[in-house]
């Protein structure tokens, strides 16, 4: 009895977690922005977006995509060539 309830609880949790896998249309939108949204990690995106809904991009998604589309350490002027603290 106790293990049945636990199983139901776990199954419910899994269903909630996978309920919103992104549609191919949503992924097209996501991938159409290579510089901003190059992320291959779709965990949070999948959780949030459900079939038939419009894709949603949060600030967290932008930050994650930016980290993953990192071009490498840039050649750029250092702050102390311009400003003194």
């Amino acid at each position: 009895m106790r293990s049945d309830r636990l199983r139901i609880l776990l199954a419910g949790g899994v269903l909630l977690a996978v309920a919103g896998c992104a549609t191919s249309e949503e992924w097209s939108t996501w991938k159409a922005h290579p510089a901003h949204f190059a992320s291959g990690d779709h965990m949070s995106f999948s959780l949030r977006n459900s079939e038939g809904s419009t894709a949603r991009v949060t600030r967290q998604d932008v930050a994650m995509a930016r980290d993953e589309s990192w071009w490498g350490k840039p050649i750029t002027v250092s702050q102390d060539q311009i400003l003194e603290r």
Binding site: S44, T58, R59, I75, Q81, R85
Partner: protein
């Protein structure tokens, strides 16, 4: 169902809701810590306006998600070219945009003019959102450092950033923000230094215009975090 089981179920649901509804927060390390300002004048400014600087950081984070504020770049810095302890409210951003061959083919002055036109007005408005900042007699001006990728790097190459540093005296900024002078006149009174990667290009002259890009550009499908307004 026992109270214990109900609590366990609630905990699982709460965890799932947390994962789905997590609110992103701007990193506080974008602000130069108060004790790292090197003069009493700068530390006083940083202390007095700490709240305004945090709000500036948060506003940029949520409302302009395509720009990245550089670490320790928001603060009351002294422009290198000035010997006395003039303190400018400063901000350095990296502007992320899709690599564009057309943009890369422009002259550096034209790329710089486009970036100045797009960003300087809106950023100045954000930096002076709290009127107490511009009204502070210890504040001498504003510095905006705008940086962008020159062109998409070839495989194995490091990307090269172009940078312009814009120094605006307070009186000039206030005239512009009050609508007393157009952006062209403000730019003419402003010192702009250019950099190609690490190489200084010296002072550059810009041909600027009023540009509503920041007001009109939206990241596709971007939704603000709950409780945030822009």
């Amino acid at each position: 169902m026992s109270v214990r089981r109900a609590l366990a179920g609630g905990l699982v649901l709460a965890c799932l809701m947390l994962v789905q509804g997590a609110v992103a927060a701007p990193n506080e390390d974008r602000l130069l810590p108060i004790d790292q300002h090197t003069s009493d004048k700068a530390r006083t400014l940083a202390t007095t306006h700490a709240g305004a600087l945090r709000e500036l950081n948060a506003g940029l984070y949520h409302c302009m998600p395509w720009v990245e504020v550089q670490k320790h770049s928001i603060g009351f810095f002294r422009p290198k070219s000035i010997d006395r302890d003039d303190r400018y409210l400063s901000l350095r951003i990296y502007i992320e945009q899709d690599p564009s061959p057309a943009f890369a083919r422009l002259r550096v002055e034209d790329r710089a003019s486009a970036m100045f036109s797009r960003y300087v007005g809106p950023l100045l408005r954000r930096m002076t959102k709290d009127p107490a900042v511009a009204a502070d007699p210890d504040l001498d001006g504003f510095t905006l450092v705008l940086e962008w990728m020159k062109q998409a790097p070839r495989t194995g190459d490091r990307p090269v950033h172009e940078t312009i540093a814009i120094f605006i005296e307070k009186a000039t900024a206030r005239d512009y923000l009050a609508g007393a002078v157009p952006i062209t006149e403000m730019a003419a009174k402003t010192r702009v230094l250019g950099f190609d990667g690490e190489t200084a290009l010296g002072a550059i002259r810009l041909a600027v215009w009023d540009d509503n890009f920041v007001k009109t550009f939206k990241v596709a499908n971007y939704v603000l975090d709950p409780g945030v307004s822009c």
